[in-house]
Each structure stands twice: as C-alpha cells, then as structure tokens.
Amino acid sequence: MLLAGRALLILALAIALYGIVASLYGARTRNVASRGGLDGRAWIASGRRAVYALTGTLLVCFALLELAFLRSDFSFELVATHSSTTTPAFYRATAVWSSQEGSLLLWVVLLSTWSSAVLFITRNRAREIAPYATAVLLGFAAFFCGLLVFLETPFAQLSPAPIEGTGLNPLLRHPSMMIHPPMLYSGYTLFAVPFAFAVGALATRRLGLEWLRNTRPFALAAWLCLGIGVILGARWSYAELGWGGYWAWDGVENAALMPWLTGTAFLHSMMIQERRGMLKVWNVSLVLATGILAILGTFVVRSGILESIHAFGASTLGVPFLVLITVMIVGSIALVVSRLPMLRSEHRLDSLLSREAVFLLNNLVLVALCFVIFWGTFFPLISEAITGRPASVGPPWFGRFVVPLALVLTLLSGLGPVFAWRRATAANLRRVLLVPTAAAGVVLVALLATGDVAERPAALIMFCLAGFVLAVVAQEFWRGVRARRAMSDDSVPRALVSLVRRNRRRYGGYIVHAGIALLFVGIAASTAFQEARDVRLARGETARVDGYELTYVRPTGNLDVASNGSLEKIDLGAVLRVRRGGGDPITLRPERSFFAANDPSLGSISRYFEGEATSEVGLEAGLRRDLWTVVSPDVRNLLAIAREGDRVFEQARSLPIGERQAALGEALRRLVTLYGTEQAPARFRVLVSPLVSWIWLGALVVFAGGLIALWPAPAGSRRLASTYAARVARELSRA
C-alpha cells in the first residue's frame, strides 16, 4: 500500500502537469486545425478531463491513507505518529489531517474535487476562459502534489513497524476540531476557483460578466465553508482549550479570517459590476487578493512561520510556499496592470445616496479590517526581521482598530438593504429609516435605564446598531411580504416563502446581515461584560461569582480504559453544585484529563502526569449567559505517591510484562480512588459571560442565509426571467 500510495502521488503530479500543458496548448490552438484533425478544443477537453482523472487518482490515494489509519497500520510512519490502537475509530478516521502530510493531501483532494465540479458545470460555457482557469487550478494541484512527492510524503515507511502508535494529540479529540480543518480547507480551495477564473478572464481579455457568473456560486460556497471553519475553530477554542475565550487573535485564526473578509467584500462588490459595469479593477484585485490570502493562510498554518521567523528556515515548506506566493502576487499585479485599459468602469456612481455607495464603503471597511489583521498578524515577523527581537501585538491592539471598524460595518450592513440601487431619494430614505432608527433608539433608552451598559460605550453602540440592523431586516421582510400579498392574495407564511424563493440572493443576504448583527451582539456583550474569577475551594466551600453560588461538592477520579484494555487517560475532576438566585441547583463536572507521556524514563506511574493534559469544561450555557468553569486539580500528593511507585516498579523490572501491567493498572486505580477521597482544595477558573450563545446562534443564522443565497434559483424564477424576456422582446419588436 505504501508503494502504491507513492506511485499514485507521482501519477497525480504527472496528470496535473500534463493537464496544464494540454489546456494551455489547446487555448492557443483552439481555432487552428492541426495535422490528424486535432484542434485546440480536443486538447482543452483533454486538459479538463485531466482534472477529473486527477481527482479520481487523489481520492484513491486518500482512501489508501484512510484505510491505513482505520486498520492502525503502523508500517505507515504517519499512522504510527498520529494514531494508536486506543484512539477511537471516529478520531482514527479524521486523524489523517492532524498531520502536515495528511493536511496537504486533503488540501489537494478538495482542490481537485471543486475544480472538477466547476469545470464540469462550465464545460459548455466560458470556453475561452476555462482552459486558462484549468491550467491555474492544475498549477495549484501540481504544486501540492510536488510537495507530497518530494518533501512531505504521507506514505513514508516505518520499519520495523511499532506495535503501538503515539496517538492523536489529545487537544484534537473534539468533534468540531475534526470538521474544522476540512471546512477551512474547503474554503481555501474553493477560493482558488474564482482566482483561477479571474486569471483566465484577464489572460483572455474576457472581462465582462461571464467569469463572475460562473464563479459566484463557488465564491459564495468558499465564503460559507471558511466561515463555518472559523466558527468551529472558535467553538473548539471555547469548549476545549481551557482559557475561556473563543478568539485570541492567534495567527492561524487570523489567517483564515483575512480571506473571509476580502471574500465578503468581493461578494458585495461583484453585484456593483453586475449591475453597473463598475469596479472591475477592484473586483479582479479582490478575487486575486483573496486567492493569495487563502494560500497565505495555508502557508501560515503549515510552515509554523508565525511562531518565529526561524521556523520558516526549519520548515521544509517555507521556501516553496514563498515562491508560490511571490509568483501569485507578481503575476496578479502584472495581469491587472497590463489589462487596465480593458477594466475601465462603464458607469460612474450616480449618487452617494445609493446602495452602490454603501457597498463601496462596506468594501473599504472590510479591506481595512483585513489590513489591520494582516499587520497585527505579521508584525512579530517584521519586527524580528528588522530588530532581531520578536515583538507581538495582543488582543488590546487588535481591539483598538477592529472595534470601531466593526461598528461602522454593522451600521453599513443595516444601511445597505434600505438604499435603492443607483439613487435613493431623501424622502424615501426618511420613510424606510424611521422604524429602524426608532428601534435603535428604544434599545438605547432601555439599556441606559436598566444597568451599567453606558460604562462600555463601544458595546452600547454595538447593541443599538444591532437593533437597527435587525429592525431593517424585519422591515424588509414585512414590506416584501406585503408587496407579495398585494399581487397574489397569499397567506403571510406562503407569501414569505414565495418571496424568499423568488429572491434568494437578496433575502438570503438580509438573513446573513441579521445573523452578523446577532453574532456581533454576542461578541460585544461577552467581551465587555465578562466576569472572570480564579477561586480555590476546599470540599464543601462555596464561592460567589456574578450572582452564581458554586459549591465544591467532591473531587472525582476516573481511569479511562480503551477497548483493548490499555489505559487511555486519567480524568481528575470535581462535582460543583451551582445555584443562581432562588433557582434549582444544577451540577457541573469540570475535569482535567491527563494523557501519558511516551517517554518511559519519566517513571512508570509519573509519566501519566507528564504528558499532554486537556480540560473538559463544565458549561451551563444559556441564551442570557454562560457559566463556564475549568478545574485545576491539586495533584501534588498524587505525584509524591507516584514517584514512590516509580521506584517500586523500577525495582520490579524482572516481573513478567503481563504481571507488571496488571500491577501498574492496580496502582493507577488506587491513585485515582485516593484522589476521590482527597481533602486538598482545587483551583477553579469561573467565567460568567453574557450572550455567548448569541455568537453560535448568529453564526447558524448567517450560514442559513448563506445557504439560501447559494441555492440555485427555482424553476419559478427562471420562468419569471422568461416572462421578462418576452416583455423586453415585445418592446424590442415595437422599438
């Protein structure tokens, strides 16, 4: 299987290279018949089919690797270093992409799959652009296949194969973490599609609407997948990392957010080009920048460069990625500059009171946000390169710039829907802004009257703006339903469904805006009004945090034994009884899980406390607030006993392995039981964060809206288009 895997990767590389040559040759000779009756179109079709063949080859490759993980075939070095027989089957299946090599393979599998999809859909369209787009997509695929063949092969052999693997990193044993990488990579690779078609459009000078029409669904799907990936990462951070936050402005998080922001800008600005033929330079630049940022994101995650500039030199991937990114930047600039005369706008902005103007502002804010995040993310590298000392910027630095920009963005997401295209009149604006402005006013008065919200002006403004946005969206739906009912006599629910079905892009977009408003409310509230306490409690003691009473009832201990009888981890935790006001008490069970280190020199028993440790959060989530707690068990007594045990086991080396394992299991069981009777206090971190659930709810609303906007237009809409076509045709005949 190892040999077959390596051979298949070489075959994939060869197919990708062939496809590039066939597509480019076909594009150059498409209208020239050559000897043997072959013209360029045959080569173009062959190049396109090379993408299908590449996808099939890589899928077989990926299946081989999956099989090795599921069978715990430790002759695969990758399996031995990232899985074990004790790793649950679900995590064995998903451990493939916990490694560098598996991630790169997943990346190129997803890229080739999306490339096949777009090329199949456009096989009878975009005939001039598609060959160049094919060559670009295959160029990316060849790059990643090259990395897998020459630098980071997932099919390296380990001989002799060990009996047991080192296991999956415990921090990655979380369901959302297993879906998070494929979603992020889907986002990155889907953004390669608009990038490739933009390059094709620039190369062929076909800079009208066709490339936009063909790539819009893929840009939207990329935006959706990347957004889901980012949110899953945030959720994992909140529930698994034990620090209580969902966003740390970490370089890897930022790397995923940047293309999402420029992708959001593109999804708005492309509508202006569709309608007015404006912003052509801006649109191609945004798409190209988004594609480059997607590759940069992959580079950041895979090279470890943000940890230190020295990691760049240590990483085998640093130089190839840098070359690829340089080629993409230089090539993009050269293409755009050389096509500037063809990218002139067909119209000018009619009025500053228009949806175009709001979208333009929204684009500037989104790009400014991206720039701020880019600067903050790469500042440590720049600083280290210049001064020799890394100097990082923390969350307060990001907050200083991101908060005002997010406030403006929220305001614009409310203003966009109420402005008409081309020109809005002051009278109409007054009418459509009345209710949303009043809603924002009501929110302001209510919050000022009820508490200390005024002490956090940024949060207060955000709540008011969110009220404004939600009112705008509700008003748009209400007005739309009313208009629909005036034409059809439908019931309200039927009119609502019909309205959304016939105008998916518009109303899907409005739902996204409502979701973003909810999400920003959650972020503002949980950031500004979070109550955090570190408490040390003995058994039976009670602490009070922001209206909650937490009583440490007792410690808990558990040995987690895998299905094959070997020890997976030791869980030491606490039972907490929690009460708020006069309500019924609830029970939380935060735990700290200890995974054994693989180094036997750390001691037969002590090594179980010297490996990775993860926190299982005790969480009481609600719409109004989350109570979040982690425990830090006091294991000093246990460690002292463990060291004594190490000495005993050191002297008992002559024991047969079976007896030794049985004795070790018994010793650990007693240790854990002992912890259950422990009287020593435990440390708890307790956070009370208002409205965190609104972040996850808002994200769900955003993705629902995104799906509605992405879903193909129903037959009804197409019939409507035909009706319009007939009406326009009649006017044409009269003209």
């Binding site: 062959s46 076909r206 066709e210 309608r275 109409n428 007005r479 739309g480 005036a486 326009v728």
Partner: protein, 87 residues
C-alpha cells in the same frame, strides 16, 4: 495502481481519440456567453428595481424612469444577441 493508471489514461485521451475520428462539438461564441450573462444580470436588475419600488425604496416616478432605462439597456442587449445570429 495499474487500474488507476489505465482509467486515467482512458479518461484523458478520449477527447483526442474522438476528434481524430472526426467528431466536432458545437461551441457558443464567447461574445454570446458575455451577452447572455449581461442579459441575465439586466433582468435581475429590472426585477430588483421593481421589488425596491414595491418595498418603498423607490418612488413610482423614480422606478418608472429607472425601469424604462433598464429595459432600454435590455433591448440593446437583445439586439446585440440577435446581431450575432445574422450572417
């Protein structure tokens, strides 16, 4: 491995074999594709302008003027599409 290689080669060379055998595929011109995309966008613009009017964002007068302008642009697009069919 051999099977994958064989299938890949068959898939990739099929268009080259078909062309040799004399089959040719009909191709819409790039100009037509561009105009079709522009027409689709124009129809969407007309529908959205009407929705803007019905939801109170455009007065009747503004909408009528805009609608007439958009329809004129659509007519121009249809003219150009028809012109592509002329010999």
């Amino acid at each position: 491995m051999i099977a994958v290689l064989a299938v890949a080669v068959l898939v990739i060379v099929a268009p080259l074999r078909r062309r040799r055998e004399g089959a040719t595929g009909g191709a819409g011109s790039p100009e037509r594709a561009e105009l079709e995309a522009a027409k689709e966008a124009k129809y969407r613009e007309i529908r959205e302008a009407e929705l803007d009017h019905r939801t109170g964002k455009l007065s009747r007068e503004d909408w009528r003027a805009l609608d007439a302008e958009l329809r004129a642009e659509a007519i121009e697009l249809l003219r150009r599409l028809d012109a592509l069919d002329e010999p």
